[in-house]
């Protein structure tokens, strides 16, 4: 298996992009990425999108996107694992390169979410839950995470303030990210007092509905050298795991098993422990999610995610910064794009080009992308070499 480097990243400003279609978003991110890498060709493409069909009516992105990118006849796949579709697309591109099937592989993540109204978007997102035994009853994604939040608060004593602090911290980081959808600061009081979506979660506990895309280009390390990429950012670990789709089928629903397994696998592949990681981009689709992800990955023991967040451990200047980009909360959450964008942020930080939100001396990054209520997760370890 070849060592795989990220030789290019492509982002764009996310938000309610009324004038851009799903093909516009993909092509813009991909072109930014190809330009960043300075390559003259690509060999294959993986597109991550959770539900382009329900959000836009458009399936078969694997045909449309290469064509609009000027790459007709390119082998392309579209992968789906709910909100982990982006991370999975990167994994797919990684396998292409590592196996030698492709020399240069492009991974694009996309979601165009504002072509439907709120009720339809909520419905589309809920298709990531068990349709017959969860969504049938009218549960929503905020609802599933709200149930986790309530159970976490009851079991571990996690407080409303601790949950709110996740949003406060990520929005603070987001103010320094020019690509963020909501680059404004919020206070704990604002989070707690914003409108209830699914008790105890409020609007500001939830990541937004976002249009966006992101892209990364992968190539063998020797190609990256040849292209003169410096500093060299290498994917040294990939972990991917799944868990039951239904919350009720987990032996301990407060333990995100897919996240734990994915993180262990990625760290083992990289020969690292969680303590070796300098910062992480994690899947804070809801404030409680970031806390539970920290605990599942062993950043803190179970039940300590809330207190650690309130203590500043995960702030930009903390001992374990999480979501310097602003996270899904502030940067936005175009579901299929999120997992790819996490790697874009990791590379920017490792390159030292993250501007006002730059973490000093960052050499090892972890990205964690999650599908559904934790039914799937993809973790990447990226290092400067």
């Amino acid at each position: 298996m070849k060592d795989v480097a990220i030789i290019g990243i492509g982002m764009l400003k996310w938000g309610e992009l009324w004038e851009k279609s799903i093909r516009d978003l993909c092509v813009e991110a991909a072109l930014n990425c190809i330009e960043d890498a300075g390559v003259d060709h690509i060999d294959s493409m993986a597109i991550g999108s959770m539900s382009s069909g329900l959000f836009t009516g458009q399936e078969h992105l694997a045909s449309m996107i290469p064509d609009y990118l000027g790459q007709r006849y390119l082998p392309a796949v579209r992968v789906e694992s709910a909100c982990a579709s982006g991370g999975l697309a990167v994994r797919n591109a990684f396998l292409e390169v590592a196996s030698g099937m492709s020399e240069i592989a492009l991974a694009v993540g996309v979601e165009k979410m504002t072509d439907v109204n709120g009720g339809m978007a909520t419905y589309a997102l809920a298709t990531a839950a068990d349709q017959d035994f969860e969504a049938f009853h009218g549960v929503t994604f905020p609802g599933l995470y709200a149930m986790l939040a309530r159970a976490h608060m009851q079991h571990y004593g996690t407080t409303r303030e601790q949950l709110a602090q996740v949003a406060v911290k990520n929005h603070a980081n987001g103010t320094r990210n020019p690509n963020a959808q909501f680059p404004f600061a919020v206070t704990r009081e604002q989070v707690i007092n914003s409108v209830l979506v699914a008790d105890p979660l409020t609007l500001l506990d939830c990541s937004p509905i976002t249009d966006g895309a992101a892209a990364v280009l992968l190539a063998p390390v020797e190609v990256a050298h040849r292209l003169g990429r410096h500093p060299l950012t290498v994917i040294t670990g990939i972990g991917h795991a799944t868990d039951s789709i239904a919350l009720v089928d987990r032996p301990d629903m407060l333990h995100l098993g897919a996240v734990a397994h994915a993180a262990q696998r990625a760290l083992a592949m990289a020969g690292k422990t969680i303590q070796d990681v300098d910062f992480a981009e994690v899947h804070d689709c809801f404030t409680i999610a970031e806390i539970m992800v920290m605990e599942a990955m062993g950043v803190v023991p179970p039940g300590q995610g809330g207190p650690a967040t309130l203590d500043g451990m995960t702030a930009l200047d903390g001992s374990f910064p999480i979501n310097p980009s602003g996270g899904l909360k502030s940067k936005g959450h175009p579901v299929g794009a999120t997992g790819v964008a996490q790697l874009c942020e990791a590379v920017m930080q490792l390159r030292g080009t993250a501007g006002e939100r730059q973490i000093n001396n960052a050499r090892t990054a972890l990205t964690q992308n999650m599908g559904g209520s934790g039914g799937s997760s993809v973790v990447h370890i990226v290092e400067v070499q």
Partner: protein, 132 residues
């Protein structure tokens, strides 16, 4: 057209039909071909009693399409007396008075409709056990 999708699950929705592993006794709802505990493929049909304990819950205030006129509504996870977890709406309750640990029973209720002219989908819902 959601008729076949709904109709197929009637034994589960109407009667809480579950599976019990013949090897290890694990109860699954819905039943599975492969036991998640021991991998056995031999299982029998059982019916859940409908009684259990509330493990967690929320109140859906921003509902998905199809539930607009029901919101706000409570939805929760109940650990059934048989040991298996079941998620459903909690109806006939004061949502502000719910707490984890409450005893729940199931009632047969309307869950959703396929529009104004389509089929009515019935299933189990939880209600706090107040003796009626």
């Amino acid at each position: 057209m959601q008729v076949p999708k709904f109709w197929r699950e009637i034994p589960r929705y109407y009667r809480l039909e579950a599976g019990k592993c013949d090897q290890c006794g694990k109860i699954t709802f819905p039943s599975r071909l492969v036991c998640p505990e021991c991998g056995s493929r031999e299982h029998s049909k059982v019916h859940l009693s409908g009684r259990g304990t509330l493990k967690t819950f929320t109140i859906i205030r921003i509902p998905p399409d199809g539930f607009g006129d029901q919101a706000p509504y409570a939805i929760g996870i109940v650990q059934m007396d048989e040991g298996v977890g079941v998620m459903a709406q909690i109806t006939d309750c004061d949502v502000d008075a719910l707490s984890i640990g409450d005893t729940m029973i199931t009632k047969f209720r309307r869950v959703r409709e396929e529009g104004k002219t389509g089929i009515i989908m019935y299933a189990y819902k939880f209600v706090p056990d107040v003796g009626v």
